[in-house]
Symmetry: C2
Subunit: 534 residues, 2 copies
Amino acid sequence: MTASTSLFILHPRLNLYYKPCTTILFPSRLNIYLRHFSQAPTVPLFSSISFALRRNRRLGIPGNFISQNLRTHSFSPCSAIPAQSVSLNSSDNDGGGGRSGALSSPPVMEVLEKIDVNPPKGTRDFPPEEMRLRNWLFHNFREVSRLFGFEEVDYPVLESEALFIRKAGEEIRDQLYSFEDRGNRRVALRPELTPSLARLVIQKGKSVSLPLKWFAIGQCWRYERMTRGRRREHYQWNMDIIGVPEVTAEAELISSIVTFLKRLGITASDVGFKVSSRKVLQEVLRRYSIPDNLFGQVCIIIDKIEKIPQDEIKRELNSAGIAEDAVFDLLQILSVKSLDKLEEVLGSAGDAVADLKQLFSLAEKFGYSEWIQFDASIVRGLAYYTGIVFEGFDREGKLRAICGGGRYDRLLSTFGGNDIPACGFGFGDAVIVELLKEKGLLPDLSLQVQNIVCPLDQELQGAAATVATILRQKGQSVDLVLQNKPLKWVFKRAARINAGRLILVGNSEWQRGMVGVKILSTGEQYEIKLNDLD
Amino acid sequence: MTASTSLFILHPRLNLYYKPCTTILFPSRLNIYLRHFSQAPTVPLFSSISFALRRNRRLGIPGNFISQNLRTHSFSPCSAIPAQSVSLNSSDNDGGGGRSGALSSPPVMEVLEKIDVNPPKGTRDFPPEEMRLRNWLFHNFREVSRLFGFEEVDYPVLESEALFIRKAGEEIRDQLYSFEDRGNRRVALRPELTPSLARLVIQKGKSVSLPLKWFAIGQCWRYERMTRGRRREHYQWNMDIIGVPEVTAEAELISSIVTFLKRLGITASDVGFKVSSRKVLQEVLRRYSIPDNLFGQVCIIIDKIEKIPQDEIKRELNSAGIAEDAVFDLLQILSVKSLDKLEEVLGSAGDAVADLKQLFSLAEKFGYSEWIQFDASIVRGLAYYTGIVFEGFDREGKLRAICGGGRYDRLLSTFGGNDIPACGFGFGDAVIVELLKEKGLLPDLSLQVQNIVCPLDQELQGAAATVATILRQKGQSVDLVLQNKPLKWVFKRAARINAGRLILVGNSEWQRGMVGVKILSTGEQYEIKLNDLD
């Protein structure tokens, strides 16, 4: 009869106390979790749960495995069951296809699984305080975009997987949240916004007049290994200029980021931009007659230079078909940190030097010279960049890149579209918050409700509703007290929501068409006619 | 040697013209799409592509299937290739593991697929005009929520699948966008926001003080069959009150929806709310001693009453374990359309009648009596509702429900949490826009940029950047002309973006520290010192 055991797995975070008792008692609000039934270790019969717990502990069996014969042993919870433990209803108890009805087969309970109260790994909830920060950040993204005359756009979070699959060996490809939908389409949660932008621009075709200046604030997903400060989703502010081949476009984009950072109180001594151009690498490749189609792949390999050993970089470049001497030259040029030196190496005939010189000259006119510096090692990890590339970094070197972008003049053609010169940047919502924390620049954002309206007895709930409605019609925010609560409670709530005024609806005042007002900052109190309230 | 054919699939939307020629010519910017190579029908060799096209058409083979032996036949495009057709680079031609190098195996080209320029089926892009509408709508959601003292929250779009899997047979379960992530977790794009809210409330536990008044505007996903106006994603405005058992909470929620609708110009003759309580059904079930745990399932079945035949409803109720007489009573009560009649049927002792009476009384005080009506047939399709339920509908009966909500006092315990009385609603972004269209209430939202700044020659691009920066620092929005363009073009652009002023940066003025200003609405023109510009 040892087969007649049922295995309970109690949630390890539940703090239960048991006393042996003789009747089977399942309080309807006791949580009992039975899971992984078939895989669970078989543990001999015990005379009581507390004994089982002790024995399990001794045997090294996790504390949440408890074996118990339902027919001969039972338990009831004592007082210390936390309020979180609930919901075993009778259907869970008497249903289930696993039981045979005989004495040897006691009822098998339906498998219940306690919900993990945390969001999936790498994702975030936004409770009110976090949401206020997010809204404040997004408001600044939007305000700066508005100042620069950009229009907001968005795309589906779920796109065709094909949109993100490029051949250059980008990290992004292996990090896709992709799956097959119920219609057998390969789809993916977008890891970035630019491919969707390109898709939409192609779709719009000649119906839009260039240049387009578009911005978006969208959530992006990457299945990355989780390390400190790295999550699997983030929001990204993108600004893109479609249809301008001149470097003025990149200069304008960097200006908008600088404007944003300044609004937040960040200075050029906190953040800088490293700027280069992929044309630098391209000019080296052309010297060695390396076909243009290897360009993206070479950039992706070189972008990894700070993450993997240089020998590995060399090997990868070799196996991509780049000869030893070209590899040497490529790696040499990455160490160049000034435009003069670059001109020395590349000559002044090519576009790379000309573009960069123009950008630095424009930066002066825009007023952000002290924010930017040339650095040939900046390549960026996306295959589609073709010209200027840039990256925002914290000067203390503690954080990942704050933002990054560049020119991608040939992205549209990889999707079967007509190429249009374009550039843009992505600016995540995570690193900037880290930086603001570091610099003590996080704003103080608390809930503020203008009025709290409270009926003084239950019969006046309707009257209070009328008062709240009148105030709301006048554009005033109102927290209406919906329950019969003591005034002490109301004052506490008023403080929590930073209410400006407390409006009390009392019987005698109400009969005279009046309400009581208390200005909470000063303590000032008065009665006012309902119609005069505003 | 018939094995030595390669199959090309040219994109059907490409409008190519071919002339036979004798050399293999792959212009680097000609798009050739080769897909489904292994499954493609084998088509005999043709001497020219145009012949192949003609023959295919004759045979009824789709126009985009063309068979061509690379070694013996070739083609080159003539002038009429549209600019959209691009990007077959040499790596696509000479790479690939599929070829063996022998004459009998011509090079197999790498598979390229032209990107579908449309968003995945059932999803939307938000180009600027759509985004302005969405922002306007969301702004109104937020404004009303603010007036009611609600705090904004959000949750991950991607949640654990378990959060959405309930046993009551809801439609929602079969419509989940769910998949296994790279860490073998079952996850789902959220189909609704309430389960995430419940999860977060449980997580927060005693750290938050009740009642919570939270709102969220989040994208939700359902894999539904596509019909007119039905998409697979929508944004949903949710407002929830956690911690108030009284009907005042539901009354407040409906008041906020009415406030929202009024802001948009919608009246009580356009939209109404049908209100009932699930306690009506519960009281019937209890009469027949039907266990409470069948309640959710019964509601889900009854909610389908307008979609499937009544016999089918009866059958489903029977097989759920409801006896004939109870089924009869349940279906009877659904036709009740007045509170008086309901009281007649149920008696006045139960909560159902009391709750509803209180709600209608409060509606009067809130000032929205003419918007609501009792209708026992309203049940709502989510298993977790326990009390008042309501649904907004267009009085012309053309559209799906505009919004819906109700009380869900026992949701938290199904996730292993401590039950807290709660109610809330969801309000989608799709039906309301349909309604606004119907009623001619869609707002006119056009792009408006305050200034357009234009250098009069290329050398002044930097000067124009300076002017733009000064204006932006003063909070003015500026569209900076980034290219050297004729004035005619600039005026056209100014009109398109509804610019208020055109600021012209000319050489002689600039040397005097001046710029030219043209007020575009009046045609007024003047010069102004740079420093006086604001």
